[in-house]
């Protein structure tokens, strides 16, 4: 009984791993060029800023929220850091990181405040703030931050050559964020509260947990993570086009989170699942570009994978329900 349940609940992650491996092998057979360190590094480079944003989206979904503004927060924070570099080229990267993360936190906090204060569904609120935040960028100027302004040391974070073990620092930053978040979610009371309010808000309230406080925290943390993702984004792309940066990224993030087994009903979700979800999307994205399939297919393929993974999720749930009824 016990082992069977374990199998079923970790089946999701195994399934994603299997899909990653299968797609990788199939594409390698079709196009041997795919079987190279370069393409592996490309996959890895696709994933840092997506992973960081997805981590934020995951805690939002676990707490029964959805955040549509994370891409806009990424753009805002990245743009702010870019402006900083533009006005003063000597500014230390660490300071830019702090500014970007802090701005992300503030923008997230605004989301959280509106959602909790006026009890409006987060999808609607963040759909609105997404446009507001993008608008703010253009009030601040909105011109592209050019490659020449971005410090070399920041760009180096996304260069495999500059790293110790061949894995770019940006990937390591993303993985560190994932590990820290996983530890926080599992071993800290404040982390558990996110699951508790997501699982049963009424029960959490009866146990003395303020749903509003936890939600504010979640929005702020997700915003801060998006701020960090903004920095990683600049280091990867090398310039900052505030109109295009992170546009639609929240959808990809939601896809990665859902593929990773996080329940849209809240209360269920794992960091490992989200990491795997991002990896899978990275593999697919690279496979599409390397096999010469039209980029237009990318969205459709993402869509298919989301729907399929949700169906699988439901099948697992039903089987679990039956096996537990026994």
């Amino acid at each position: 009984m016990k082992s069977r349940k374990l199998n079923l609940s970790s089946f999701r992650e195994l399934g994603v791993i299997a899909m990653i491996v299968i797609i990788y092998i199939v594409v390698c057979i079709i196009e041997p060029r795919f079987f190279s360190t370069t393409s592996l590094v490309n996959i890895l480079l696709f994933f840092p800023f997506l992973l960081i944003v997805s981590l934020g989206e995951m805690i939002e979904i676990v707490s029964r929220n959805v955040d549509m503004s994370l891409g806009a927060i990424l753009a805002c924070s990245g743009y702010a850091a870019g402006l900083l570099f533009k006005t003063n080229s000597d500014i230390p990267i660490a300071a830019a990181f702090i500014v970007a993360i802090a701005l992300g936190c503030v923008l997230g906090l605004i989301n959280g405040f509106i959602v909790t204060r006026f009890q409006i569904p987060s999808v609607i609120v963040t759909l609105g703030t997404m446009n507001i935040y993008r608008g703010v960028i253009f009030i601040l100027g909105g011109k592209q931050i050019d490659n020449s302004v971005i410090p070399q040391s920041l760009m180096a974070l996304s260069q495999p050559k500059e790293s110790i073990i061949g894995i770019p620092y940006s990937v390591l930053i993303a993985l560190l964020a994932a590990v820290l978040l996983a530890v926080f979610l599992k071993y800290f009371r404040a982390g558990r509260e996110i699951y508790e309010i997501g699982c049963n808000p009424a029960a959490a309230s009866l146990r003395g947990i303020s749903n509003n406080r936890v939600q504010m925290f979640v929005f702020t943390l997700a915003g801060g993570l998006s701020g960090l993702a903004g920095m990683v984004f600049i280091s990867r792309i090398g310039y900052m086009d505030p109109g295009a940066a992170g546009r639609g990224l929240e959808f990809t993030a939601i896809a990665a989170v859902v593929i990773g087994g996080t329940s849209m009903n809240g209360g269920v979700g794992k960091v490992t699942g989200t990491v795997l979800g991002c990896l899978l999307l990275g593999v697919i994205q690279n496979a599409i570009s390397i096999t010469g399939i039209s980029g237009y297919w990318q969205e459709a393929i993402y869509g298919i994978i989301i729907v399929v993974s949700v169906i699988i999720d439901n099948l697992i749930k039903n089987r679990l329900a039956v096996s537990e009824a026994r």
Binding site: K186, Y195, L206, S210, A325
Partner: protein, 526 residues
Amino acid sequence: MASYNGYFLAIKLGPIPITRERREILEKKVCLLSAQKICKSFGKNNVLKSVDFDLEAGEVHALIGENGAGKSTLLKILFGIYQPTSGDINLEGKTVRMKHPVDAIGHGIAMIHQEPSVFEDLSIAENIFTGHFENRKIKWEDLNRKASEAMQEVGLQFSPARMMKGLSVAEQQLIEIASALSSDAKIIFMDEPTASLTPGEVENLLALIDTLRKKGKTIVYISHRLEEIKAISDRITVLRDGEIVGTYQNSEITKDQIIQKMIGKEFRSGGRKKENKTFGQPFLEVEDISIPGIFEHVSFQIAKGEIMGVAGLMGAGRTEVARGIFGITPVKSGQIRIGGKEVKIESPEAAIKNKIALVPEDRQGLGLFVSEPIAFNTTFAIIDSIKKRLGYIDTKKEKKISEQYVEGLKTKCRSVSQKVGDLSGGNQQKVSLAKWISTNPDILILDEPTRGIDVGAKEEVYRLIRKLAEEGKCIMMISSELNEVVSLSDKVMVMYEGKQTGMLAKDEITDVRILSAAHDCLEEAQ
């Protein structure tokens, strides 16, 4: 045989003796928590009318009253779930405001709620400790060990890492109790903690309460079971229609007096004249049905007009048999015949077509749409019959039908457009019954029909069940309340761990035989 003997204790509960130390504490009469002139109204409905209530340190204080008398509301106000319309709360002499449960918890109060409010997707350990984790950082090993200890206290033996999902209502309730006990609360509110427990579990809980009061905890205890209240409490407060009738020392008042004060009129105990009825051909015939691993080889027959009680411990498979017949989890083997014809019931829709109705145990989860009005719930299952052309709902007809049931079942409500969620437990159950009776079924399966409802409302439900039987319906009634099984049933099926361990004919129905069969030792008892 220990549990077997325990069962007999549970039937004839005597008061648990007070030790000298406790008597000394109680005689000091230190007022720990008091409520003054508490009023609460929901819209026009005055639920509490200037209630004064005081709680002395170390006592077990029972609150009793009919459904809708305001017991739960009072506790919810003291716990910060509701805000009083007016009135003050004093804690150890200081006026406090309970704006949110977090305030009450901060003042050292824990509450066990009537309907379990659990986190299904989280582990048992987390369910126990949520709200009172010791530190910011969680050491799961420690916590799991403590969770196991806490579960042991309430007689459960699950792995603490197991998910909450899949536990029965009773088990969930026990986990909540374990949770309240593991917090360091000075004051524990218990709102009908025994409503979904079997006699064995109740006895376990009462022993636990005794331990708690020896440790000096103060307890407020709401229950509809007079035996429990007489056994466990020091003082008893009776509420009626939102007002306090009085507070009495347990030793100064008898059960009959309590009932009289609750109802405000003379009470007739609901015994049944055991007239010799004869029934015709069996109408519902169930032969050797099984779902492997859940229940096996269950056979019974019910004639029209007959009431079959189904007794057994929690988890014996009674609810599962009902769900099998109703097609929620269809049976894997065996035959079901209705009126002599074999039927295949693969889904609830098929069951409804065969004129079977199931009134489930878990009213809020399965039976009712709590955020919808009474009228919607009452006519939900007969929606086709109140449709006008093009599928419009005939709201006048809907209202009329619902009002008939409200009147017939004496449901207490403002109007049929009131949300079911705003009604008290007993009245919710009446709406749940109305919903299924309105389908005019031939076969009615009732799962714990009187769970969590008061003496007066129970009598009404019993009368209703008898009336339905007289109208010629086959009734299968699952119940953990021995009294009602004994007094209502024409025959009793007893189950134990998925097996049918007894089928008692009318003249064989006694407490002792039912309980023996429920523990699979019928032969020994004979």
